[in-house]
Subunit: 194 residues, 2 copies
């Protein structure tokens, strides 16, 4: 009854997210995801009749939700604590994988799609970025930040973390993320105090 | 005498950079780059005996040098003017391609490579990022910024621009880059004045 096992489905989604954050969407195949999750290829198509596009879309939401839950928990201690946890998460991802893995949400965002259509996976990525930004901005506003400044800084935090992770992978060093973290923490303190 | 034409070689490098910034390294093939540049496949291997890896490495350097030359020119007017030109360049790239193109240097940085080797293309990407950071930081220091703060802010500028470009492509909107630009410009002014 493998095909009815919800665990297999979840493993496939998690496996796809891991593959995409390492090698990108184009280089990720359903066949390899199935192999990686030790699931028969047939059941993969059973779970994801929409094929790779559907699997990738769910993988992006899965990764987005994991970060959102962590943020939700850590932001309870305040915006600076939430920011620290967000940056520490990315640091942990790159160091624990020897700079081989980054963010699957960024990975799907930078591949070419037909200009006249908006694929589900890209829409999911946009939603995830918007969601993280909203969580960070809301927390800053609740701690006294000017609404516009909070919105801008939240976008800066997500953009800088995403860009720094890619730079760390190129340089095989955590330096870019560490430099960015120092600046973002100071900025968050100032924005919240104002 | 196509094979001796330096223009063809340059067209191949520029074509590879364009393909990589649109679809990533994995999805870029020498065959398609040759077709795109209207150059026979044979001459491609003649120019780049190291194959795709060599072509991609030169494409990353080509893109990096183009930005570095622009920065060098614009930073003469000051760090804020240089920053504005840097961000305007990325904005122009995403809007002129209907959000289909981003940065080839980031694209090659987020694909999996063997853990025990450092491919030339990744080393080239690291050098390009370091070079842009150094140009921005030097300009800030020459305009009175604290050396450490200048270094951190320069990394933040490159990371945030790279991350924001990816977010803009996902959201098919320039909003993330515009938000980030407002913050970075204010920060640069403050850092230089201090």
């Amino acid at each position: 009854m493998t095909e009815q096992n919800p665990l297999s489905r979840q493993q496939l989604v998690a496996g796809a997210a891991d593959m995409i954050r390492r090698r990108g969407l184009n280089a990720t195949s359903i066949r390899e995801v199935a192999k990686h999750a030790q699931t028969p290829l047939g059941s993969t198509y059973h779970y994801f009749p929409g094929g790779k596009q559907q699997l990738a879309t769910e993988a992006v939401r899965f990764a987005g939700d994991a970060v959102a839950r962590m943020l939700d928990k850590e932001l309870r201690a305040g915006p600076v604590e939430g920011l620290r946890a967000f940056l520490a998460l990315w640091r942990e991802i790159i160091t624990s994988t020897d700079f081989q893995a980054g963010c699957p949400v960024l990975a799907v965002s930078i591949e070419e799609h037909a200009a006249d259509e908006r694929p589900a996976v890209l829409a999911a990525a946009a939603e995830v970025f918007n969601g993280w930004e909203a969580q960070l901005a809301d927390s800053m506003r609740q701690h006294g930040a000017d609404p516009q400044a909070a919105g801008q800084l939240a976008t800066l935090v997500v953009a800088a973390a995403e860009g720094a992770v890619a730079m760390c992978r190129a340089q095989r060093s955590t330096r870019p993320l560490d430099q960015v973290s120092a600046q973002l923490e100071e900025l968050t303190r100032t924005t919240v105090c104002n």
